[in-house]
Amino acid sequence: MAKLFETLSVQRTEILQALGQHLTISLISLVIAILIAVPLAISLRDRPFWGEAGLQVAGIIQTIPSLALLGLLIPLVGIGTLPAVIALTLYAIMPIYQNTYAGLKNVDPNLKEAAQAFGLSRWKQLQRLEFPLALPLILSGIRIALVMVIGTATLAAFIGAGGLGSYIMLGIQQNNNDYLLIGGILSAALAFICSGLLKFIGKNSRRIYATLALLALLGAGVGGVRVYETLQPKPVKVVIAGKLGSEPEILMNMYKELITQADPKAEVTLKPNFGGTTFLFKALQKGQVDIYPEFTGTVLEALVDYDQKTPGDPKKTYTLAQKQLLKQYDLRYLKPMAYQNGYDLAVTKEFSQKYNVTKLSDLARVNDKVHAGFDPDFSNQEDGYLGLKQAYNLDFGKISVMEPALRYQAIAQKKVNLVDGYTTDPQVRQYDLVVLEDDKNFFPPYQGAPLMNEKFANDNPKIVQSLEKLAGKITTKEMQEMNYEVSVKHQKASVVAHKYLVEHGLLK
């Protein structure tokens, strides 16, 4: 519980931002849905055939699972806010349309006939009789839609639209209950509050009109600002995204600071925890993301067509990756940083000192003393333990396969004395572990470097220049330390990034 509050206070601005995104996406979708559903129901109220047909269609849309709908929209409109808004709008139409239609249909036919007999025009009948009488039902439809949209908007994080869902996604990914709680509780609270607010507003017509006026004013204001902005000379807009976790987020913040130092007018948007590798890569190609940090090893193994074994030499790996990216995808891959974030094996300090083990080749001597904790993938992959066994002539005394998240727990509690992991894992620092040197270069090198479109690089030489300052910087130890600060000590990524840049003279 104390940890939850700590996370809350450290991540205050990020959480507020996610909350704001969530609310914005939801409200935009809701407003569009209202603008579609209400006029539609009004125009179909006296055409029962089409009115009922509308109900059927809206009902069918409702039955499409939300994740499937979001997935279907990606090839059509890409990722980010747009497909999220489209999907949410489609969902919100149904309850609003249904209630508006029912509300208009429920108006006493005697009253409708009276209105006709008085010679009121169609518009007058709607304005003075049908709409006001249907209004309570319409509002309850809007409330249902709003609650549903706020709930479903958590899924928008899966297609890079941000919002509270990104905390839920991160929580699942990192097995972090605090994040899960933050995402879940806040979205539920948001739905609850908004629904209550709407109920309050719907109580009498004066409140409704006041709210409408307020919204119109707000809309006009936002519109005005937009117009003003488009009239201003346009600053360079840069979108930087990253994969899940603390390390990409730290790097993104460094990129941002370096870019704004070189071009103070540049508008840099960060999209941390944007998604997995292929997802990000597609977003980059579509131009929805301008820059993201990628690993040399990942490029060769997962992104480009390259069927030979990844070379053990980091320099060769980078050069190959850089050439293939340019050739196959017209992408610019800048020079990598120093640190390696590949697979590693780590042992306790105690074990290292007792048996004098610092390199992987030292392990052959003490094979039967080792009790290893491996993640299931690592234990049976050719580029994992299977290959490692041959390369270093290993045959450990005991191997326990366990969930990735539990490995470090196990070694911290001395249940095992050796684990697999990644070289920059903060737990190495947290539990004071010793990473064994891969002296035969068995593991493919994983070095991080900024990836962007060739066109973007050519258009923005200043940005390329500023990012290249990081080439060869940041050692594995330093990265480990920074990851530790962010994911264990809950420091802000931006603070940690800034500190590093200042300490190393990269920021003036």
């Binding site: 005697n110 009253l111 209105a115 007999a117 008085f118 010679g119 009121l120 025009s121 003075r128 009789l129």
Partner: protein, 310 residues
């Protein structure tokens, strides 16, 4: 002012009205009376184009009604329905002046008119102008509905069973009110009712409608003293209420027509029916060569609807 010329109305095979010729003078209080299902409401609805006759023509001020612009015609015609049909979401003020609003009359003028009309039916505007219909009693609602029909100072006001849902006391008050308003403002009023007492009390002249035909047109005295036929005589017999009439009963849905029955008894009058139905819970009878069946519960329900309604 109004002239029905050989007007007829058919829905498919069903003839609702046939050969109706009526003349209504300007400023007259004209009552259409007859049992339910006689076609009197249809006749009324033709005056504001809610129903278009399938035969013949109706002239309003020497111009065929079907040639009038529908909306203009309706805006200049008052209309009072059986239930008050006030818009529940609007204040009384807005309800009363809804036609003026459609005509584009300014807010201040509408307000003044609403207040004037509320005072005319003894509802204090200070108290009532801003109230919603739900805050009124049934009688108050109907009074508002009446003045709503007068808001545009129409030459013609149509009233369709306007007081039928009120209890006898309120009904009498409403009748007095409309007579008074008619005296003062002299609009032409066409009033539909199934209640002959009401017809006699209100009408300058009365048209008795039965089975789609006009049976007799005349002043209350003429009709009472010289009924044109048996139906009119029965209908206006002051000794027994209008529904105390076998033909009237057979117009309603309470008895059911059946094919020939063995034990059907030939009946002559409503009184015969009452005598027979005291002996058996269900009676099969013939009247003018048609066989019917009715239960005593159905008859009670009929009496409750026609006689005891408050």
């Amino acid at each position: 002012m109004i002239h029905y010329q050989d007007v007829g109305m058919k829905y498919g095979e069903n003839t609702i009205l046939e050969h109706i010729d009526l003349e209504i003078d300007a400023g007259e209080f004209f009552v259409l009376v007859g049992p339910s299902g006689s076609g009197k409401t249809t006749l009324l609805r033709m005056l504001n184009q809610l129903t278009i006759p399938t035969q013949g023509n109706i002239y309003l001020n020497d111009k065929k009604i079907k040639e009038y612009d529908k909306q203009k015609l309706r805006l200049n015609t008052g209309y009072v329905l059986q239930d008050s049909s006030l818009f529940p979401n609007l204040t009384l003020e807005d309800n009363i002046t809804i036609q003026l609003e459609q005509l584009g009359v300014g807010k201040e003028k509408r307000r003044a008119r609403a207040h004037e009309l509320l005072r005319a039916v003894e509802l204090d505007p200070k108290v009532f102008a801003k109230r919603k219909p739900a805050e009124l009693s049934g009688g108050q609602k109907q009074r508002v509905a009446i003045v709503r029909a007068l808001a545009t100072k129409p030459d013609l006001v149509l009233m369709d069973e306007s007081f039928s849902a009120l209890d006898p006391v309120l009904r009498r008050q409403s009748q007095d009110l409309i007579l008074d308003l008619h005296q003062k403002l002299k609009p032409t009023i066409v009033f539909v009712t199934h209640d002959m007492q009401e017809a006699l009390r209100l009408g300058d002249r009365i048209a008795v409608i039965h089975a789609g035909h006009s049976q007799q047109v005349g002043t209350p005295t003429q009709i009472m003293q010289h009924p044109a036929n048996e139906f009119v005589k029965d209908f206006f017999d002051p000794e027994c209420p209008h529904f105390w009439n076998l033909e009237y009963l057979l117009q309603t849905t309470y008895p059911t027509k059946i094919a020939d029955a063995k034990y059907a008894i030939e009946l002559e009058s409503f009184d015969d029916l009452l005598i027979q139905l005291q002996k058996t819970p269900e009676l099969q009878f013939t009247y003018q060569a048609q066989t019917y069946q009715i239960t005593y519960q159905a008859l009670l329900a009929y009496l409750a609807e026609q006689g005891g309604r408050s």
